[in-house]
Symmetry: none
Subunit: 251 residues, 2 copies
DNA sequence: AATATTCGTGTAATTTCATGCAAAGTCAAG
DNA sequence: CTTGACTTTGCATGAAATTACACGAATATT
């Protein structure tokens, strides 16, 4: 067995079982524990796993750590979310994208009047479990686990069957010339379809997404109704975006 | 079991149950109490928990619904879930109902072979976010927040469009003569439709659901393939169910 | 106040770790 | 085919970590 094969096996086991026990694996592969331990050490050095006494564990603990997720620019996202939530009028139908930024928006949604939230993200749906006045409609389809949104023909068909008044979009990057982009092709197509079926599209952007680009293009900037960006950015930083003609709201 | 895993388990239990009893946990993990106590001491030193006589408590006061969470008979559900998960064969398409019992099943699903999980519950979908080999298909529709499942025409249409090999159903009550029942009319109809589109229907039942009935009937007992019930029930308690001809598996 | 648990420390046995080193295997240039 | 550089593996060794048991002190229960 080649070293690289063995390391691939270790990575797979780690993913499958959530742990590696050096002694057990050594016995199973009929190798000395030293070899396994060496592999684990090397993989730990490469940042592929976490070395612990007796074996190794995945880097990200089995359960997604809410604290860690929320700590990713919590304040900034909460501010964006609050600003966006203020746009929601009674009786409206809004579409919420997946992602941590829109999750912050879901938490900030008004609780004193009724409206309908459409989403293709189970995570967003769960956020709204305790919301007193929001009607929630879930778009079905094949779940794309990385972003936790549904995609595919089933999702697209359902999206085409409804018209939302506002679509709050999340992206991985926004660039004055490259437009709005994301990391997955299917996801880009889904977002585009949602935008086509919404009267207005507002894009929530944290600071680190500005001026960057990801592989898959969703649509050019002016195709969106407006961008919601953090407050405190310099006018020079925003100028290239303003020039595209898109509206900009600071949170 | 690796030390760091054990500490993670302690943290999780603390979060879930709101307390750790050193003696109980030692017996459960088949370790000396010293080991558990040492872990608790170390974690207390790291500021992860509060050491008290007999065990440990969370630093932050227990969650408001602490009592409710504890009363959920988590061990019983985990056992049911594990038994049901063992039925899943590679490549199969299974349908998972919503609810805490099926959530336990989702957590216990095999991680060493691939299969497809169809569900109409965003909660279940979120549980499977980290599952390495499960393909997830989400059924869309209007979200019924009380049970966190989608219902309505949109959901029914999507359900009719697929055929699952096993449907793992959750109910609020099962009675020898009143059959399988639940608390919401729409939900009952949805469950019935899912069962009609699955080759086999297994019902997961915790002890407190036996012999009771809820307002809305899903279907009679013999319409299910079988029931999965906790182990240790007396033959007399199960006899009325066996007489209906439904299969019974003890977890 | 009396009794039964539970705690914390010390200690010894076991397991696991990291390092150095030598043997075996791999690969490519000569 | 041979030689030499390089990689991989297994073993030995001392260090570090982990665990269980023992015993007196602290705490809870009756």
């Amino acid at each position: 067995m080649l070293t690289s094969q063995r390391k691939a096996l270790i990575a797979e086991r780690l993913n499958r079982d959530g742990e590696i026990v050096a002694k057990t694996l050594a016995a199973e592969l009929d190798l000395s524990e030293d070899t396994i331990r060496r592999d684990l050490r090397e993989m730990a050095a490469e940042g592929l796993l976490k070395r612990v006494h007796g074996g190794a564990l995945p880097l990200s603990p089995p359960l997604p750590d809410f604290a860690a997720r929320q700590s990713l620019a919590t304040d900034e996202k909460a501010a964006l979310g609050a600003r966006a939530a203020a746009m929601v009028a009674p009786g409206q139908v809004i579409f919420l994208d997946g992602g941590t930024t829109t999750a912050a928006l879901a938490r900030a949604l008004p609780r004193n009047h009724a409206f309908t939230v459409v989403t293709h993200s189970p995570t967003i749906a769960c956020e709204l479990e305790r919301h007193p006045t929001a009607d929630v409609v879930l778009i079905g389809g094949r779940l794309y686990k990385h972003s936790m949104v549904t995609t595919g023909a089933m999702a697209l068909e359902a999206i085409r069957g409804l018209k939302a008044e506002i679509y709050f979009m999340g992206v991985t990057a926004a660039h004055p010339t490259h437009g709005l982009t994301t990391g997955d092709m299917e996801e880009a197509a889904t977002k585009r379809t949602i935008a086509e079926n919404a009267a207005a599209t507002w894009v929530l952007l944290t600071q680190e997404k500005l001026g960057r680009a990801s592989p898959w293009r969703i649509m050019p900037l002016p195709a969106a109704t407006g961008l919601i960006v953090p407050g405190g950015l310099t006018p020079e930083a925003l100028a290239p975006y303003r020039e595209t003609g898109v509206a900009i709201v600071e949170a």
